[in-house]
Amino acid sequence: MEFRKLKELPVQVVIKQKLDDRPIVRNNRLGCSRRLVAELQDALDTCAERQRQLEQSLRVSRRLLRAWEPAETPTPEPTPGPETNEEAPSPACTPSPQDLKELELLTQALQKAVHVRKGISKAGKRDNASSLKSGSIATSATTAAAPHWASQTKLPRGTRQATRPAKGLPKPRLLSAGDQTCAGRGPLAAKPGPGLRDPQKAPSAAPQAPEAFTLKEKGTLLQLPMAFRKAASQNSCLWAQLSSTQTSDSMDATTSSKTQFLQKMQVTSGWPSSRLSAAEVEAEVGRLQKACSLLRLRMEEELTRDPKDWMQEYRGLLTLEGLQAIVGQCLHRLRELQAEESGKEVPGCHPRRPHSTVLTEVVEQQLGPWPEERPPMASLPCGGGADPTWSPQLLLYSSKQELQTLAALRLRVDMLDQQIHLEKVLMAELLPLVSMQEPLGAPQLALCRAVHSLLCEGGQRFLTILRDEPAD
């Protein structure tokens, strides 16, 4: 009510606009908030990206914990390995592609039917019956189709052959793919695996319900394929070697020739070497930022400490003075960097050779696209393990709660980081805005209220402003 009343009052606010884009305020509008909106939008985008990644991994994990569908690509191969292959006679006549397609569709439909039935019926027996029934219908189809699924267009024979030992149904993998015998996995062989490949075995082998493979029940029986294991171990071995050559750094000849080369490049180049590149400046600014927060932390620590004796008091004093000196130096360095940057922008203040002017323009033209590039240096230091060393170390946890706490804390820390950053930006943008207004107009009050909530309450709560009207 109050708010609306206040809003309706007309207000003329005229502020002289200066060249260094001072904010203009008209009604509730903030003239210089492009940066604010950009920052907020950035934050939103980062969150969205992270959410997207999380949802992707959630999808994968949920799918893993459900019953596993039989894979599209068939394993049965005429080798003496997994038992399912025994049933698949290789030298059947090759049906035409159309027949193959039809068979494929048929088997897929039957698979779906089996799944639906399995989903509905709880007991295994009924599953068995239904699958057997549907299986028997499709037996002739599947026995013919089974070896020929391989000739589907999406699976070239070569890769199939090569990777068959590595990939396949969960069930054959339970039989330790790669082994030529079923030793040690015999009892498992009795249980038919998921899907329709097994119904033809079901009468022959022990007729149990073709349970779908679930991680919960049979997860401990999985085994990684041999090819993968080899590749993974080779991978970690190579990484270890690479990192040891890095850290050993025994190749002095190489290092010295590299530094020599760099020096020569600098010497023979046209740029004067004293200049800092943009990346270096960014890095320095980042360091100064870090310095600022560390110094502040130390100052807080010192201020909250209660000195018990004069010695401690003295040390506290010295520390604070030392901190002050360091802050002064940092500010000085910052001003130096700023001056270096802006000083160069001023054209014509250095004596230039005629062709170098052209070159300046050429260079600056070439470097035109630079402004659109976001400097990633600030965000790169921890960019997904840019540290080129060995494979990740381990983080051991012992329970779901612990893992959840860990993840939640990480997220909270990240959120707080972002909030603090936004808070600083808001302060930098909004406080000057509010403090320079002639404060009596109504929209200014609404603005103050909004700014207060954004800055002091994270946008969650609002204060109330009452007009102190004398009751008369």
Binding site: F228, F261, G270, L406
Partner: protein
């Protein structure tokens, strides 16, 4: 090969210096003799090897002599070990043969070193391109532009630049190199259509390679991750400390209610993230528990999501295997490159020597345009430092006054104690400075760690314990909350001051939680 050695021996390669005329001439003669005697070289390798000659002048006649010269090389037992059999008789021919043999060994290693380098880089061109680039041949330029673009965009993790026209790519490469501080002007002068400048591009590539271990870094970025990883380092993954790209959509002034709405939206997304994260952890815990004992590696003990997924989905597993294998190939290439790279650097010296010297521009202000964009970057840092300085000034002033009041009569032992205190504080502050002077002092828990579920009471192998990390995170959380509260308090005070200036209004703050 022999011609290469000769060219090399002619003062452009390494420490050995031979008189220019004789070696070349002799080798050319030998080559011609071999040709006349009808030896058939292995053309491909012979041609390539002979072409690596350092002197431009030798290169052209070497082309014709390719077969012969290369045959002479193996005949002399130089070059690849497999061709060592053979003509020891040639050994006696030239006086500087022994030295040349060493050089030619090194020379033979160069194409292999470059081949290893290209295999370890993404989109690496063939060694032939490198050779042509040394002579600034135009046909080598496009491949090198592409390589530089690929490498730089991977380094800067810039996904948006993937699909650009070649001219745009060239411009981007120039900008990126300049931003990194590439010293040579010649690069900026190159035309962007990829028609020339391969030598300059080769130098740029070598510059990047010399500054940091490039193949390793690129490999680490695109690494195949087999485990479920959680970052442990303290870099804020969500905070964007850099200047955001200015967007042009908000053309006019912005309503503050829009800001409020955006903040609310952000809070909502946080809550969603938190909920999804909790669910994901629960699922991960289950998967890890269910696959106990399945992993070959005893220290891991269970499968990760990626590994389980590859078991469930053979097609995806095949792709993962392929990626692993190609990464292994690149790793091997990178190792080989590390072993052989010395010859490359020696060769690059010759390339640099072959360049005409650049005219120096002593008073050239090569600053980037769009400086206004970065003006904002100074703002927060300067503002914070100034605020800090003011606070410190106030604090120091107060304490100094208090101290001066206290220090009345202190004995002679006082000065010794004072000295000690000064030194101790000095050391402490120096250590503090180190924390930001180095690029990331705390490098230990910087990589993402693989999550491994273990039994609660177990001794556990090497690895970080979750409990420790939780402790660290809690303290950091407390610290950050404190900081946020302080900032908010500052704002509150300032706004209260403003409110105080307004008569006739009552400001009722919301109830504090």
């Amino acid at each position: 090969m022999g011609v290469w050695a000769g060219g090399v021996g002619c003062g452009r390669f390494g420490p050995h210096r031979a008189d220019p005329g004789s070696c070349e001439g002799r080798l050319v003669q030998l080559g011609r003799k071999c040709l006349r005697s009808g030896l058939d070289g292995r053309h491909s390798h012979a041609g390539a090897a002979a072409h690596w000659a350092g002197a431009g002048g030798v290169a052209r006649p070497a082309r014709g002599l390719g077969a012969g010269a290369a045959e002479a090389a193996p005949a002399r037992g130089l070059g690849a070990g497999t061709r060592r059999g053979g003509a020891r008789s040639f050994k006696a021919r030239a006086g500087c043969m022994g030295r040349r043999r060493h050089l030619a060994d090194a020379a033979g290693a160069l194409p292999e070193a470059i081949a290893a380098l290209s295999r370890s880089l993404p989109a690496g061109p063939s060694p032939e391109i490198f050779r042509r680039a040394k002579f600034d041949r135009p046909e080598a330029a496009p491949a090198l532009w592409r390589l530089l673009f690929r490498v730089l965009s991977l380094l800067r993790a810039d996904r948006a630049s993937a699909s650009r026209a070649p001219e745009a790519q060239a411009r981007w490469v120039k900008a990126a190199l300049r931003a990194q501080g590439y010293p040579r002007l010649g690069l900026a002068r190159l035309p962007e259509d990829g028609s020339q400048g391969s030598r300059e591009l080769l130098l740029a590539l070598a510059w990047l390679l010399a500054r940091e271990p490039l193949p390793e870094r690129l490999l680490a970025q695109t690494r195949v991750r087999l485990g479920d990883e959680m970052p442990v380092c303290e870099c804020g993954a969500l905070a964007s400390p850099g200047q955001p790209a200015p967007r042009v959509d908000t053309a006019g002034p912005v309503d503050v209610r829009r800001l409020q709405w955006l903040m609310g939206k952000l809070r909502f997304r946080w809550r969603n993230l938190m909920a999804s994260q909790q669910e994901q952890c629960a699922l991960l815990g289950k998967i890890h528990a269910y696959t106990r004992g399945c992993h070959g590696d005893r220290s891991l003990g269970h499968l990760s999501v990626a590994e389980t997924e590859l078991l469930r989905d053979p097609e995806g597993g095949r792709q993962l295997l392929q990626r692993l294998e190609s990464e292994n190939a690149r790793l091997e290439a990178a190792l080989e490159w590390r072993r052989r790279e010395l010859v490359f650097w020696q060769w690059m010296d010759t390339v640099l020597g072959a360049c005409p010297p650049e005219a120096s521009q002593p008073t050239f202000p090569p600053r980037l345009r769009g400086r206004g964009r970065r003006a904002g970057a100074w703002g927060p840092v300067a503002w914070e430092l100034q605020a800090l300085q003011e606070e410190l000034q106030a604090a120091v002033g107060a304490r100094r006054a208090a101290w001066a009041a206290r220090v009345g009569g202190q004995g002679p032992e006082w000065s010794a104690a004072r000295q000690a205190a000064q030194e101790a504080v000095g050391r402490e502050l120096a250590a503090l400075r180190q924390a930001w002077a180095r690029g990331g002092g705390r490098a230990q828990p910087h990589r993402p760690h693989r999550l491994v579920r273990t039994e609660a009471g177990g001794p556990g192998g090497p690895g970080l314990r979750a409990a420790e990390v939780i402790g660290v995170l809690r303290s950091r959380e407390a610290c950050l909350e404190e900081m946020l509260c302080q900032l908010q308090e500052q704002c509150r005070q300032q706004l209260a001051r403003l409110a105080g200036a307004l008569p006739g209004l009552i400001w009722i703050p919301p109830p504090r939680r």
